[in-house]
């Protein structure tokens, strides 16, 4: 990593007395507005994130003059404590209902105490992005949110995600099944073998194959727009909409970046945007949704990362101004 300023391993404790671990990056020429960026852990992949995405983000943000703290939530990475779940889906589910909000507040307290930072930009991928949003609901020191691949649904071993697929997801699944079973494909026998030997998920196959017919019979497409007051009937996270509305209502700014190929983008559109279009309309200038063409959930390819990170930096410049370097103290030799 080049130009990411000084990096210092740090530890601090959360409200339960558990020691959290992070790397603090201090820019050579910091801004003078006391704003820092928290890179919130996406979960198991800790303060580094998939393919070291958080180091690449850090490099960009430090170049803009922001101190950046990327740290591990309790029970993950090098932090103390345990995440007690035995299944990943349940760990993701616990993250989605705010398990790590307290750790995020502890990180802000640490940065305020030691670095003098009084306002924050919460940034992160997936569960980290959602943790930032939920933390912002509790703590107004978070002024902006930079969210990559933010989930609007709840995971968990008790949730059958295939039962709650969006129309777009069912169409893609249907196309994949149909394609695999075409007789003229050279490898079609593999698809048929899986189908006939019980290795196909029949409920999903039937639901996707008959989805167009079922949709016509029910005379409905996507779920109708609502005011968000009623609890969702599917696997949508009930905490998401109220947190997002609170965030916008308190004049804060959000950038939501998705990969075009990420199922989370389809879920965001179908299970949040379309349902809350009316409620969101007055806040159109407070948030932006940016979609990186073709990109997947973790922005694997370099061009996807470049597109997403460029947009993140533009957002920061737009809403937090260009660099305001603090005066450099001159020491007499």
């Amino acid at each position: 990593m080049r130009g990411a300023g000084e990096r210092v391993p740090v530890t601090f404790v959360n409200a339960d007395g558990l020691q959290l671990f992070g790397i603090l990056h201090r820019p050579q020429r910091p801004r003078d507005d006391g704003t820092a960026i928290l890179l919130l852990s996406p979960g198991v992949k800790m303060r580094v994130a998939p393919h070291r995405l958080y180091l690449k983000m850090t490099e960009q943000f430090v170049a803009l003059g922001y101190p950046v703290l990327r740290f591990d939530f309790h029970g993950l990475g090098d932090a103390d404590g345990e995440a007690p779940e035995t299944l990943l889906a349940d760990l993701y589910g616990a993250t989605q209902v705010g398990r790590y909000v307290g750790d995020t507040v502890a990180a802000m307290d640490f940065m305020q105490r030691t670095e003098g930072c009084s306002q924050f930009i919460a940034a992160g991928l997936c569960g980290g992005a959602l943790t930032g949003l939920l933390a912002a609901q509790r703590d107004t020191r978070i002024r902006s949110l930079v969210a990559l691949s933010i989930p609007v649904i709840l995971d968990g071993s008790h949730v059958d995600a295939t039962r709650h697929m969006t129309a777009a997801q069912l169409q893609v699944t249907r196309a994949a099944y149909v394609n695999k079973l075409r007789f003229w494909r050279k490898d079609a026998w593999q698809g048929w073998l899986r189908l006939l030997t019980g290795r196909t998920q029949y409920s999903l196959a039937l639901r996707s194959l008959f989805h167009p017919l079922a949709a016509r019979l029910r005379h409905r497409g996507s779920s109708p727009a609502t005011d968000g007051a009623s609890p969702p009937a599917d696997n949508t996270n009930p905490l998401f909409a109220p947190a997002f509305r609170t965030f916008l209502h308190t004049s804060r700014k959000a950038l939501l970046v998705f990969g075009e190929s990420d199922r989370l983008y389809a879920e965001f559109e179908a299970k949040f945007m379309s349902r809350h279009a009316t409620a969101l309309a007055p806040y159109a200038s407070s948030y932006e949704v940016h979609v990186t063409k073709q990109a997947n959930h973790i922005f694997s390819f370099a061009e996807w990362q470049q597109d997403a990170l460029e947009r993140c930096c533009q957002f920061l410049k737009q809403h937090h101004g260009e660099r305001h370097p603090a005066p450099v103290s001159v020491t007499a030799r």
Partner: protein
């Protein structure tokens, strides 16, 4: 038990490490951990942390660290090769010896990290015992598996293979990088790892060697048997665990069976 995070230098790059030190009485045994490759490193991080903490609680000292271009260390992943990783492990061994005053250390490696540990032990006289968890024995096959990940991403995004495996290798040979799960692999890493056949030669390492076959079910592994036979003093054992270096349904914060067989072996030959 104390955990001290710090950076140490190998040439131009700072390497990130965590030193786990025992609380009171030390056994004098020092372990350096060699992490696996790419996303495998991230999936297994907590298992490494958990095992380091167990060893430290038992009175041992452990140094975990990240190779250049990996984790929290400096450098770009695309500049990593097998040579740079071997150099980094060598540097970490020297660091551990300097910090603790011991003359020889033990290595613990997982997957490609186990392969690296085995290779380092062949040239270093200051390695006492080595623990190889699910080592990558056939480097060429491993690199093919990584290229397959690129193909899978292409299929998921473009619904077709735009660059087949042969084209990807040609791109590498032309000096370009190939993306595997977001990591840019360059030719040095590809060619150096692909040339590794860990069981081919008779080993020079005279200390103890534990080779752990990690699998859901116990079944013979010819390549691990061959690897074990290439050592002068080795133990091949089985640990029933999920392949926790991949994305699986279970959340692996420890590998109790693998830890147990390793600790039993360490006690037995202490």
């Amino acid at each position: 038990v104390t955990e001290t995070p710090f950076y140490f230098r190998n040439g131009l790059h700072g390497l990130f490490g965590v030193l786990h030190s025992p609380a009171s009485t030390s056994t004098g045994e020092v372990f350096v951990f060699c992490h696996p490759f790419g996303e495998e490193k991230l999936w297994t991080h907590r298992v490494f942390v958990a095992f380091a903490r167990r060893l430290a609680a038992a009175g041992h000292t452990v140094l975990r660290f990240d190779y250049m271009g990996n984790g929290d260390s400096d450098g770009d992943f695309a500049d990593m090769s097998l040579s740079t990783a071997l150099s980094d492990v060598r540097c970490a061994i020297d660091q551990a010896k300097a910090l603790t005053g011991v003359e020889a250390v033990n290595l613990v490696g997982l997957r490609l990290g186990a392969t690296i540990a085995s290779l380092v032990a062949e040239t270093a006289p200051d390695i006492h015992r080595i623990v190889l968890w699910a080592p990558v024995v056939d480097g060429a096959r491993y690199m093919q598996e990584l290229l397959r990940i690129n193909l899978t991403t292409q299929m998921a995004i473009y619904k077709e293979i735009v660059h087949d495996r042969e084209t990807l290798v040609r791109l590498l040979e032309r000096g370009e990088t190939v993306n595997v799960d977001g990591y840019e692999i360059a030719l040095p890493l590809y060619s150096e790892v692909a040339s590794v056949n860990l069981s081919a030669a008779r080993k020079q390492h005279l200390g103890g060697c534990l080779i752990a076959h990690v699998d859901r079910q116990e079944r013979p592994s010819a390549e691990l048997q061959q690897l074990a036979a290439s050592y002068q003093a080795s133990t091949l054992t089985f640990a029933q665990e999920e392949p926790f270096w991949k994305e699986i349904t279970r959340w692996y914060r420890g590998a109790p069976n693998l830890f147990a067989v390793t600790e039993t072996w360490l006690r037995a030959i202490a």
